[in-house]
Structures are given as structure tokens and as C-alpha cells.
């Protein structure tokens, strides 16, 4: 497909590199669907992705194992039901799950394994890797492909990320991920963190990158990650994911194809899946808009987006103001309860300010960012 390019893919600098793509539609995409993807939709999409040669698919509630809750929403089926429905139909693809210690437990992981999951992202905030030793050890005991997943990685510097990654490796993780949960990172930020990890990790330990497209950087960031040594890249077809979505997988596959990076996926099949299966599933167009751009710009956890919009309707404070305040208060993934709390506090303060004549009826723009 690249005959018309005067520069042959094999002549490009990353030519010949092999990467493993990991689709997030059926996990991160659950956030964008308020956890309302049916088992039938999951099976349709997963079998199509399997057929297109995507090697790993993540399938759980958006918040992972144990995610069904008032805090994170209740999905249409249990994680075990989703996983077993998908895993039993996979010809080649492996089904993975997400586990956040403090929410998911080893019991949940065991149940997911019994349902057919064979890979796990054990996710902690980027400074808290030491809350995951028992979960990583347990995943290894089950014989799972085990990843330590450092969320909100922009909030730790390259040296700190390297230390945290080493901790995950010591616990037994096969792979360490730099996770740009807020879609905040710029290419040089990704490069520095992946490079720092590559320096300290064993050669056999893989490095991964998980991007969000809030600043439009999903593809660019994934490419610098590959350049700096990452071999696993999370993405989702048509970008179905939290915030402005994940790195769009079919776009990344096309770029990799042009650059001679081997992914093993069938690009045209993925384009068709994006157009015919994923896009029609969307409740809202998953794209960079005012609020998702705010997430990226202010460094806020992407999943907060829809919760902030809900709170905005409920308490009459603009979603963007709530998101910026959450960034300022340094709230991290899992603190979705603080969105309503923050909106209520802001609404009270604004009502008082209005009464005392300090604030005009319409809210003032805020310039602060987190």
C-alpha cells in the first residue's frame, strides 16, 4: 500500500521493529459508553479484532476488575460474563484485564483467569507501585502475561518512573507501561520516561505505552515510545476510550505500516471495523472537544470527563471549571467521588459569592491549571 511513497518503508529509521498492539475498546471504551456495552456487542467487536490479527484485547469494566460500583458505574454484565463470552470465541487473540489494587482483588483476578483472561495490567498511580506486590505475584502464579501499569505518568519524573518500573519488575512484571491517563504528555515527556525505564530494566522486560488523545498526541507519543524502546502499545480502534479516546489503533497501524514497523494486523479490516462496528456504537463522538482538551491541557484523569459533565448538569457549575479544579487539587484516578464533592463545594461558594455581589451571574473563566 505504500508503493507511491518515494521513501520506502524499509528505508525509514524504525523499519523492522516489531510491536504488539493491545486493543482497549472493550475496557477503556467502556468509560466512553458509561459501561453499557452488551455482551453481544463485545463478542461482535472482539471476533472482528481477532480476525484482523490484533494480538491482545482488554475486556472488563472500564475501571477493571471489581469496577462494578456506585463510584464507577455498573456494567450490563459481570466481568466474568464478559470475559468468558469473548475468550471462548478467540482464535488467536489473548484476552487481558485491568486490575487496580484497592478496587480489584486477587479473588477477582482468579475469577477472571477462570473465565479465560490470560494477561493483566496491574495498575497503580505512578508513585504507588508498592501497593501491587501481591497482585503481580498472584498473576505470575496463575501463569498470566503480567504488566505493571504506571497511571498518570506525567506526575512523576523520568527518574521516579524508572524506580517505580524497577519495583514492578522486582515483583515479577514481564512488562512495565508508561500510562498517559490524562493525555497530557508531549513526545519529549514520553521519550524521557521510556528511555529512563529502558536504562534500568532487564533487557527481557518489555516496555509499553498507553496514550490518550486529549491533546491529539496519541500517535506521535506512541511513535516516540517505540523509538525509545517500547514494544507494546495500547490503542483502541476508532479511539473508543475515556476522554478524547485512546490512540486510534487503525491510524497507528497505518502509520506503522508506512514506517516499516511490524504490527501483524490487517489494516483494511481494522478500518472497516472502525467505520462499521465501533463508530456506530458511540453514544457521543469520541474526539477532542472543549472538555476533553481541558483534561489534556490541565492534566486530569480522562475518565473524569463524563462524571464532570453529569455533575455540571446537576449542580450548575461548568464541567471545564470542575475539571480544572480537580487538576488543581491533584485528584487521581479512582477519586471519581471527589467530582460531585468538588462540584457541590464550588456551587456553594459561587452561590455565596453571588449573594455578596462578588461574582456576576455567569461564571468567571478560570485561568488556573493543575
Amino acid at each position: 500500500m505504500t508503493d507511491f511513497d518515494p521513501i520506502s518503508p524499509s528505508a525509514r529509521p524504525l523499519a523492522g521493529k516489531e510491536i504488539i498492539l493491545h486493543d482497549m475498546c472493550l475496557r477503556d471504551g467502556m468509560h466512553a459508553k458509561r459501561e453499557q456495552i452488551t455482551i453481544a456487542q463485545m463478542v461482535t467487536l472482539a471476533t472482528a479484532l481477532d480476525d484482523a490479527g490484533v494480538p491482545y484485547l482488554q475486556v472488563t469494566h472500564g475501571a477493571g476488575l471489581g469496577g462494578n460500583s456506585l463510584q464507577h458505574g455498573f456494567a450490563l454484565a459481570s466481568n466474568e460474563e464478559y470475559i468468558s463470552a469473548v475468550a471462548s470465541r478467540m482464535k488467536r487473540a489473548k484476552v487481558s484485564v485491568l486490575l487496580l489494587p484497592g478496587l480489584g482483588t486477587m479473588k477477582d483476578l482468579h475469577a477472571a483467569f477462570d473465565a479465560g483472561a490470560r494477561s493483566v495490567h496491574v495498575a497503580t498511580h505512578c508513585t504507588e507501585a508498592d501497593t501491587a506486590p501481591q497482585h503481580i505475584a498472584y498473576a505470575r502464579k496463575l501463569g498470566m502475561d503480567t504488566t505493571g501499569f504506571l497511571m498518570m505518568a506525567h506526575l512523576n519524573d523520568p527518574k521516579g518512573i524508572a524506580e517505580q518500573g524497577k519495583t514492578f519488575e522486582d515483583y515479577g512484571a514481564h512488562t512495565v507501561y508508561v500510562t498517559d491517563s490524562a493525555g497530557y504528555m508531549l513526545p519529549e515527556d514520553v521519550k524521557a520516561r521510556i528511555g529512563a525505564l529502558r536504562e534500568v530494566l532487564k533487557p527481557e522486560t518489555e516496555i509499553g505505552f498507553h496514550g490518550h488523545h486529549n491533546m491529539g498526541m496519541g500517535i506521535a507519543n506512541s511513535l516516540v515510545a517505540i523509538e525509545a524502546g517500547a514494544t507494546r502499545i495500547d490503542a483502541s480502534v476508532a479511539g473508543l476510550g475515556a476522554g478524547a479516546g485512546n490512540t486510534p489503533l487503525e491510524v497507528l497501524a497505518a502509520v506503522c505500516d508506512r514506517m516499516g514497523i511490524k504490527t501483524g494486523v490487517d489494516l483494511f479490516k481494522l478500518m472497516d471495523i472502525a467505520e462499521e462496528i465501533v463508530t456506530p456504537m458511540m453514544d457521543h463522538m469520541v474526539r477532542v472537544d472543549r472538555d476533553s482538551l481541558t483534561l489534556g491541557y490541565a492534566g486530569v484523569y480522562s475518565t473524569f470527563l463524563l462524571h464532570a459533565k453529569h455533575a455540571a448538569r446537576e449542580f450548575g457549575v461548568p464541567a471545564r471549571d470542575i475539571l480544572v479544579e480537580l487538576g488543581r487539587k491533584k485528584m487521581i484516578g479512582g477519586q471519581e467521588d471527589m467530582i460531585q464533592d468538588t462540584a457541590m463545594t464550588m456551587a456553594k461558594a459561587r452561590a455565596e459569592a453571588k449573594e455578596s455581589g462578588l461574582l456576576p451571574a455567569s461564571s468567571q473563566p478560570e485561568r488556573q491549571v493543575g
Partner: protein, 305 residues
């Protein structure tokens, strides 16, 4: 006035904070601090505060129990060690206040069930977890008014306030707290979530409590019940504060709390540790009051209930 003599097992931050709280008590007197490392800072701090110390674990304390009249012991070690400590001290008639996740004895949240355990003369009470102490009173306040079919709590904790033991065993925290939301809080099903936030300056402990009631929540009665319960907890944790709510949405009741510590030894942001030491002290005080009044006599037992 006579005070009940206490021993503290575990010379970490919790142990040191306990010394401060017990020293202030009108009915408790901290006499012994038990550690396992002769060079530990915690034992040195305890000596500076006038306590006798041993670095030989609970075995170093046993020969002195009788002579020094120790009647109550606080255990802030680990679930694994606690079982042994409890058996040995119970055998000498010492009441155990358990701050580990061991939960050999009944689960205690002072304003909910302390009176009952004092009346039952139990020799070991478990303090559940910090999140349990901070949230179960609210769940109970709602379930007193009308049945709670599901309760969920989210505890946000400052990274600096979470020690290595909790970090390495986060699942135990989840299981223990979830179970206590049901057993003590009165919810038919309970779920506990913990978030560890590294923000600087450290964030004050936050707790959100969600309850789903059976039928439309009785807003006024539930609100009164929650406010009353907050007042009860504030008697021993003054920094226990309602930030927002109770907010009602359908059958959901949402309550947003903050717990600031007293800053005795642990910083004020570590309300999670403070509420444990405060609840443990409050628990010991009720038993001590009964002993001093002559209405309770501790007796040696083979093993804890």
C-alpha cells in the same frame, strides 16, 4: 485518681501516637512499650516519654504483667503476630485492643457497638481499619432509619500516611472493611475502595459513603441520624467533619467526610491513622471506666472469643 495500666505492642508511628492519646486519658496510663528492634526510634521515643520498654516482643512483657498491673494491651503489629500476642496476654487476664486486620475478636466501632461488647465482657476487640472507623458510623446511621441494601465507601488516603504493611497487603484492607460495612454497618452488601494519593502537600483523609436504601430514602430522618452520629464520632475525633451532603439522588444517599487528625505524633493530614488510635483509646477507656467502677473484672481466658 487510679488509672488502668496499659501496654502498647508495636513501636511504630501508631504506637507512638497512642502514647500521646493514652497519656491524656483520665482513666488510662501507658506503662510498657513492646518492640522487636532494640535500636528502634519508636522504643527510644517511648523511653523519652517515661515508658518501660522491651525489644523482645510480647515475651519480654509477659513477666511484668502481674507486677506492673497491666490490664489492657493495644496491638499495632500485624495480623500474623496478633493471634499469638492475644493468646498469651488473654491467658494473663489482659484485655486486647487489636489495631491489626487479624479480627480475632468482634469488630468494634465505638458509637455503634462498643457498649455491647463491654457488657458482654469480651477479652479482644478489633478496630477494623481506618476507613472502617471513618465510614461505618455513617452506614449505621442510615441503616438505623431504613434498610440499606448496598453500601459503598471510598477512602482517599495521603500516600505518606500509608505504611509498608498496608501497601503490601491492600487486599486485606479491602476484605476487612467490606465485611465490616455489612456486619457492623448493617448494610446487606458492602464494598470498600481505597485510593492512595501522593499529592504534596499531603491531602487530608477523605471518605465518601454511598448507601442505597430499600425504598425512597426518608430524607429528614436520615439527615438527622447522620448528623447525630457525626456528633458522636466527634467526641473522640474532633477533626471528623461533614464536607458535603447528605445528598439524595433516587435511592442513593451520598455523604462526603473529611478526617483531620489531632497532630499528636502523626501529622494532621493522617486522619486515617488518628481515627484508629482515637477509636482504640475510646474503646479502652470504656472498659477502663467499668473496671474502675467495679462493674467489670477481667479474668484469664484460654483464648479470645
Amino acid at each position: 485518681m487510679t488509672k488502668i495500666k496499659c501496654a502498647l505492642i508495636g513501636s511504630g508511628n501508631i504506637g507512638t501516637d497512642l502514647i500521646h492519646k493514652i497519656k491524656r486519658s483520665p482513666v488510662l496510663d501507658p506503662v510498657w512499650m513492646v518492640g522487636i528492634d532494640p535500636n528502634s526510634e519508636g522504643l527510644a521515643r517511648a523511653r523519652d516519654m517515661g515508658l518501660k520498654t522491651t525489644a523482645e516482643g510480647v515475651d519480654g512483657l509477659l513477666p511484668h504483667v502481674d507486677a506492673d498491673g497491666i490490664q489492657i494491651a493495644f496491638d499495632a503489629t500485624s495480623a500474623y503476630v496478633h493471634a499469638e500476642n492475644s493468646a498469651k496476654l488473654n491467658a494473663l487476664g489482659v484485655l486486647m485492643i487489636d489495631l491489626t486486620p487479624a479480627a480475632i475478636g468482634p469488630l468494634c466501632v465505638p458509637p455503634v457497638n462498643l457498649r455491647k461488647y463491654a457488657d458482654e465482657r469480651v477479652m479482644n476487640v478489633n478496630m477494623i481499619s481506618c476507613a472502617g472507623q471513618a465510614t461505618i458510623p455513617i452506614v449505621h446511621a442510615v441503616s438505623q432509619v431504613q434498610p440499606v441494601r448496598y453500601a459503598e465507601i471510598i477512602a482517599s488516603l495521603a500516600s505518606k500516611s500509608i505504611g509498608p504493611g498496608t501497601r503490601a497487603n491492600l487486599d486485606e484492607f479491602t476484605y476487612t472493611t467490606s465485611n465490616a460495612i455489612e456486619v457492623v454497618g448493617g448494610a446487606k452488601k458492602g464494598k470498600a475502595l481505597a485510593i492512595i494519593n501522593p499529592a504534596e502537600p499531603p491531602m487530608i483523609m477523605r471518605n465518601t459513603i454511598y448507601c442505597l436504601t430499600e425504598g425512597e430514602p426518608d430524607r429528614d430522618t436520615i439527615t438527622d441520624s447522620i448528623l447525630g452520629m457525626i456528633g458522636e464520632v466527634q467526641k473522640y475525633v474532633p477533626g471528623y467533619r461533614l464536607v458535603n451532603g447528605p445528598a439524595f439522588e433516587g435511592d442513593k444517599v451520598a455523604v462526603f467526610m473529611e478526617v483531620a487528625g489531632l497532630g499528636d505524633y502523626l501529622p494532621t493530614y493522617a486522619g486515617n491513622l488518628d481515627i484508629m488510635t482515637a477509636a482504640a483509646t475510646r474503646t479502652a477507656e470504656l472498659f477502663a471506666e467499668e473496671i474502675l467502677a467495679g462493674t467489670l473484672t477481667l479474668s484469664a481466658t484460654e483464648a479470645a472469643q
